[in-house]
Amino acid sequence: MKFGVLRFPGTCDEIDALQAAQRVGDARLLWHADPDLHGVDAVIVPGGFSYGDYLRAGAIARFAPVMASVLEFAHAGGLVLGICNGFQVLCEAGLLPGALLPNTNLKFTFRQVNLDVVDPDTPFTRAAGKTLSIPAKHATGRYHADGPVDVVLRYAPGENFNGSEDDIAGVRNAAGNVFGLMPHPEHAVDPLTGSTDGLAIFQSMAEHV
């Protein structure tokens, strides 16, 4: 099992995601300008501020050469995980429905949040329990979609600090092979630095491939 973690200019959490993935398999970084996915079995679009997020979070990254290959990979059924800025990129790229809007408090907010796993039968959640405690940190995390979507994670009651519709924290595509979430599972993989609940996401992916 080999994960590929994208790196755009302005990506911040790629080493965190790489290290998290390495706990359950092999992993390597993929450079934004290189369309070659180097034979990876799953792609992670990590968090950060790709291209500074100056236009709209994730809006520029989707034009990077590597993203054409990620689109092709996803359409062929490959597993793609988008975390925070990665979730925004996947929405902008049309791989996931909906959009992420500025938090209702209009501030970057860091919080350890509890999540309810509402769809335990996905390649990303099969190893997960019913709830996950994972940190979230973003300014643009209020999920909105015009129609019904396939929800995978919801903020537990009282935990939805960004104002997401229906407490949605993570969604998948109809085929189930692309998943995006605002909280950061890669920051919840080691008891030393916090919780370990995020590891289940990476384990699920490794077990699926």
Partner: protein
């Protein structure tokens, strides 16, 4: 001829320049000299005093003089750190002022080859409850810090904020950055190698910052409206992120001979300091500097403070490789000059000389001034209005303290910062008295070893106003106490000296006494000063700010699996007081709330006893004997107990042998754990036990933890 006066030089200084040069300087040269001879660059009122600070220690790898100092943390790794002020820009435009303050200190740290791994901030504003301006400055400065640190992927792991009316017009924004480097990557800024190429990296050079920190605001040099442009620099964390990654890769590939960041006084300061350290000359052709505005004058190019720029020295045969790495990171890189053996800093435009200055004249020959210190004969600072009645009972005093802006929960602030990116953060804000970061293990590429570092930043202007020498020493002890609470031993410190106008005798006295107090405490604790910053002239028409030395300290953690927490843990645990804690009310938070001016006497410290207490708590944490440790800081022992109860979500019942609200900073600790372990600690005095949902202090007060928490969480007044 008064041009030099408009640029902030005295007649005497101008005479020295003319005699050193053997002629009158031209406009380009005068602009450069006026900046290099400014207080900001030359430290002309503080340099003599700073010599009192001890700078040597067994762990010191790089002392003061480089962009940041560095200490050895084992496993072939070094930790570089520095604190710097960005006070005046933040008072003018708090968001950009604070953001570029963070950007500047990050550059200082990666300029020495260290990857920034943590930011901390020390902030001072006017009374936030009464002043809309202070609330505005607080909210925007915090947003600016978050904007820069969050976007660049460096965690903000700690900090401190105080509110006092003397900061109303002149707020303080001090930012500290800590970086990590393999020893081999530590880099000097000394320019070396005759014929080596100077390459400017990063952003375009614009007119921003001209006349900002400098004295060019009334520039006759341009004589046009350009000088009225906004003088606060604008930060671009995305640009800096690329420059940072690019520089670290260039250093890892051993492509650079030296590296320097561009800060105050831009190219002038960066290049002349590189030349001075390397004892070489430099030629720079301003026509090759990529500009944001095409019609800039040579002097503007030389003093622009445009952000996100670095200057490096490269051997000619490595230039192509450097440009290739820069292109991959989409970082603009332009050769703008070369190293010479002339000892002169020559400014050219299209090959024609427009200025030439001896490097020593620029960097070393600014006169240093002796202060004329005089202790004040009357109190320097007015009494604040009383908000706690003189006959208030202990319960209301405690709730008032917890709900006061100086002691209230900082959650509304630190929730705007990313404290966890880079996956090193073992203790986040609110979990312990100091931030704790895990370091890489020996030899491994990724993942943590067992060792770590702890970081704390502290300073209390009101205590320093009461007694500058003892108050400044308290800041050092307080930082060391914070480190002890997580089991860390101090490795080194950095400081930022924020004071008023040093030409005023009373301010000079505060500065001189405070530096002596810092020196005393550093000697007593064996902690070297590895770098820092001085910010003077922090005054408004209302008078100077409280004298505010800020201390940032880094300590070694032996095992990141055994670090302390501040909150009480389990019912039944014993609570003890550790240390010769001799609190007094003078200069305390309760004195402030009671309407007393910062005057009186601070406690006299028993140095040996304080060291012993720190050692005892550190040992108790490292051995795992203690469940919690919290140093007794502002608000006294009652507030420390309340904070431990709030953080643990559990009550306590104690009886106190000392004044509940007196202060003696850095001397005493509240620890908890199994009774046998706690009482086995050297110097521990049993106070009571953890349990229940109330804080009960025998014969004094009883308050539910919920009430304590709600007073604490509401006090800052922002959400």
């Amino acid at each position: 001829m008064s041009k030099h006066r408009d640029l902030g030089l005295t007649d005497h200084e101008y005479e020295l320049i003319v005699s050193g040069l053997g002629r009158e300087p031209n406009d380009v040269e005068l602009a450069m000299l006026s900046l290099m001879w400014s207080e900001h660059c030359a430290y002309k009122h503080s340099k003599k005093l700073l010599g009192r600070l001890p700078t040597d220690g067994p762990h010191v790898l790089v002392g003061p003089g480089e962009n940041a100092g560095a200490v050895d943390v084992g496993n072939g790794q070094a930790v570089a750190f520095k604190v710097e002020s960005h006070n005046h820009p933040s008072a003018v435009e708090p968001f950009q002022g604070a953001a570029t303050g963070v950007g500047g200190i990050l550059r200082d740290v990666f300029a020495v080859g260290a990857r920034p791994i943590a930011v901390l901030d020390s902030l001072r504003f006017g009374e936030v409850a009464e002043s809309e301006r202070s609330r505005y400055l607080l909210e925007h400065a915090v947003a600016g810090i978050g904007h820069y640190g969050n976007s660049i992927g460096v965690p903000t792991v700690g900090g401190e904020i105080y509110f006092e009316s003397s900061y109303e017009q002149n707020c303080l924004v001090n930012a500290m950055c800590v970086g990590l480097a393999p020893h081999a990557r530590l880099t000097s800024s000394a320019a070396v190698g005759l014929g080596n190429v100077l390459i400017l990296l990063g952003a375009l050079t614009g007119r921003d910052g001209i006349g900002g920190a400098s004295v060019l605001a009334s520039a006759e040099l341009s004589g046009a409206d350009e000088s009225k442009r906004p003088t606060v620099q604008i930060g671009d964390p995305f640009a800096e992120k690329k420059v940072m990654e690019c520089c670290l890769e260039l250093l890892d590939s051993e492509l650079l001979a030296s590296l320097q960041d561009l800060g105050a006084a831009g190219l002038t300061s960066a290049a002349s300091e590189m030349a001075s350290k390397g004892e070489v000359g430099l030629d720079i052709d301003v026509a090759s500097v990529p500009l944001r505005e095409p019609d800039m004058e040579p002097f503007e190019i030389m003093v622009s403070e445009s952000q996100e720029r670095m200057l490096c020295v490269v051997e000619p045969e490595k230039v192509a490789a450097v440009l290739e790495v820069c292109e991959r990171w989409e970082v603009l890189a332009t050769p703008i000059g070369q190293v010479t053996d002339t000892g002169q800093f020559r400014i050219l435009k299209h090959g024609e000389q427009v200025g030439e200055l001896p490097v020593p004249l620029l960097v070393d020959e600014c006169p240093l001034y002796d202060l004329a210190p005089e202790p004040p004969t009357a109190p320097s600072f007015a009494a604040p209005p009383a908000v706690v009645a003189p006959d208030a009972d202990a319960r209301s005093q405690l709730l008032a303290l917890l709900g006061s802006a100086n002691l209230a929960s900082r959650r509304a602030v630190f929730e705007q910062y990313d404290p966890i990116v880079q996956s090193r953060t073992v203790r986040r804000p609110e979990q312990a008295d100091a931030a704790v970061l895990a370091l890489p293990g020996a030899g491994s590429g990724f993942g943590h070893g067992t060792s770590g570092i702890a970081i704390s930043i502290d300073g209390n202007g009101r205590r320093v106003a009461v007694d500058p020498r003892a108050g400044a020493a308290e800041a050092v002890y307080e930082c060391a106490a914070n480190l002890a609470c997580v089991g860390a031993e101090p490795l080194g410190l950095t400081n930022c000296l924020n004071f008023g106008n040093p030409e005023k005798p009373h301010v000079a006295w505060q500065l001189e006494q405070a530096v002596q107090g810092l020196a005393d405490a550093c000697e007593q604790l064996g902690v070297p000063v590895i770098g820092g910053n001085v910010s003077l002239y922090n005054e408004s028409p209302d008078g100077p700010i409280l004298p505010t030395p800020v201390v940032g300290m880094v300590g070694a953690v032996e095992d990141v699996h055994h670090v302390g927490r501040l909150g009480f843990g389990s019912a039944g645990d014993a609570i003890a007081l550790v240390g010769e804690f001799e609190p007094r009310r003078d200069g305390s938070e309760l004195a402030k709330l009671s309407g007393e001016a910062p005057v009186g006497t601070l406690p006299v410290r028993d140095v040996a006893a304080t060291r012993k207490a720190h050692e005892s708590v550190r040992a108790g944490i490292r051995s795992g004997a203690l469940c919690s440790a919290h140093d007794i800081a502002e608000g006294g022992i009652a507030v420390a107990l309340a904070e431990a109860a709030i953080a643990g979500g559990i009550g306590a019942s104690v009886s106190l042998p000392v004044d509940p609200f007196g202060e003696d900073l850095g001397s005493g600790f509240i620890v908890s754990g199994p009774e046998r372990a706690v009482l086995g600690l050297a110097g521990a005095r049993l106070l009571g036990h953890v349990g229940g949902n109330e804080l009960v202090i025998d014969g004094l007060l009883s308050v539910s933890v919920d009430q304590l928490a709600s007073a604490h969480s509401a006090g800052l007044g922002i959400n």
